[in-house]
């Protein structure tokens, strides 16, 4: 192994930051709305996330009663895919950096 003066130590720092940033999860939230049927929301949750009926029902009720529910916490790309799918089904979904 050869350590040269051009060893890119300073360059590695931002790369590390970027990796950490990429790995930080994003929360996917679904918001209540007056149009989507409860049974439809359950169906969509099962389709998109593969949830059991029980889990899908529980999350749907959370959306209905509390106005929103956290349905996934994933790396950015996966969160984006979920939001896109949910929007395709007409659900009001958003993503935000997990806190």
């Amino acid at each position: 192994m050869r350590l040269t003066s051009s060893a890119p130590t300073p360059v590695q720092q931002p790369e590390t930051d970027e990796l950490v940033d990429v790995d930080l999860p994003w929360d996917v939230l679904v918001w209540d709305d007056p149009v989507n049927l409860m049974s439809y929301v359950v169906f969509v949750f099962r389709q998109v996330f593969g949830f059991s009926d029980e889990v899908a029902q529980k999350l749907m009720l959370e959306v209905h009663e509390r106005g929103r529910a956290l349905v996934a916490s994933e790396p950015r790309e996966q969160a984006e895919r979920y939001v896109q799918q949910l929007h395709g089904f007409g659900l009001h979904a958003t993503m935000q950096r997990s806190t």
Binding site: V35, S39, F43, S52, G88, G90, M95
Partner: protein
């Protein structure tokens, strides 16, 4: 009220009155028109393409750039496919019968939902107090329309079951177990 959608062997059979079919075509055409040249200030467009990212305007811009074109294209494709599907209907005793197979029930379910969302956006349903709507208010008709299409959605949902669009023809959506069956066994996920 007799059912509009029922299971029929491998298919889901839709039976529309001719008036219902005309209505569905007209609602489809209205949505197609709104999507053909989408106006960002149109409440229908706002509702069907809502903000995706909170707390990060740059990420929201990036996401919209990726998302909106895809979503728009798939919605337009769905609406166009619906026309072909409705044209396939055959007349039986004054009703139009269409057998839906493969991913077609899912397509119909999605269009019905988009149409209901669009009607809801037009009457600003988020701010609407249903109790204050009188029978002679045009909004009352729109609400009745949404309820009617919602009833169709409920019928479809009760016989589709999750993932059934890929497995239609099996009996896993028996009437007494509408969303049961081996739905967890999905290798494509």
């Amino acid at each position: 009220m007799s059912r509009t959608f029922r299971r029929h062997g491998r298919a889901i059979r839709a039976t529309f009155g001719e008036g219902e079919l005309e209505l569905l075509r007209s609602l489809r055409d209205q949505l197609r028109e709104a999507l053909a040249s989408p106006d960002p200030d149109d409440p229908v467009i706002k509702r069907l393409f809502p903000p995706a990212v909170l707390g990060d305007p740059e990420a929201e811009r990036e996401m919209r750039a990726l998302l909106v074109d895809d979503l728009l294209a798939s919605r337009l494709a769905g609406l166009d496919a619906l026309v072909g599907l409705l044209d396939r209907g055959t007349l039986h005793r004054g009703s139009v019968r269409i057998d839906l197979v493969d991913d077609e029930p899912m397509l119909v379910l999605g269009v019905l939902n988009d149409v209901r969302l669009a009607i809801g956006a037009r009457i600003d349903i988020e701010a609407l107090d249903r109790g204050s709507v009188t029978d002679d208010d045009p909004v009352s008709y729109r609400l009745a329309l949404m309820d009617h299409l919602g009833w169709w959605q409920e019928q479809l949902l009760s016989i589709m079951g999750p993932g059934l669009d890929r497995e239609i023809g099996t009996d896993l959506a028996a009437e007494d177990d509408p969303i049961g069956g081996p739905g967890e066994d999905r290798g494509d996920r």
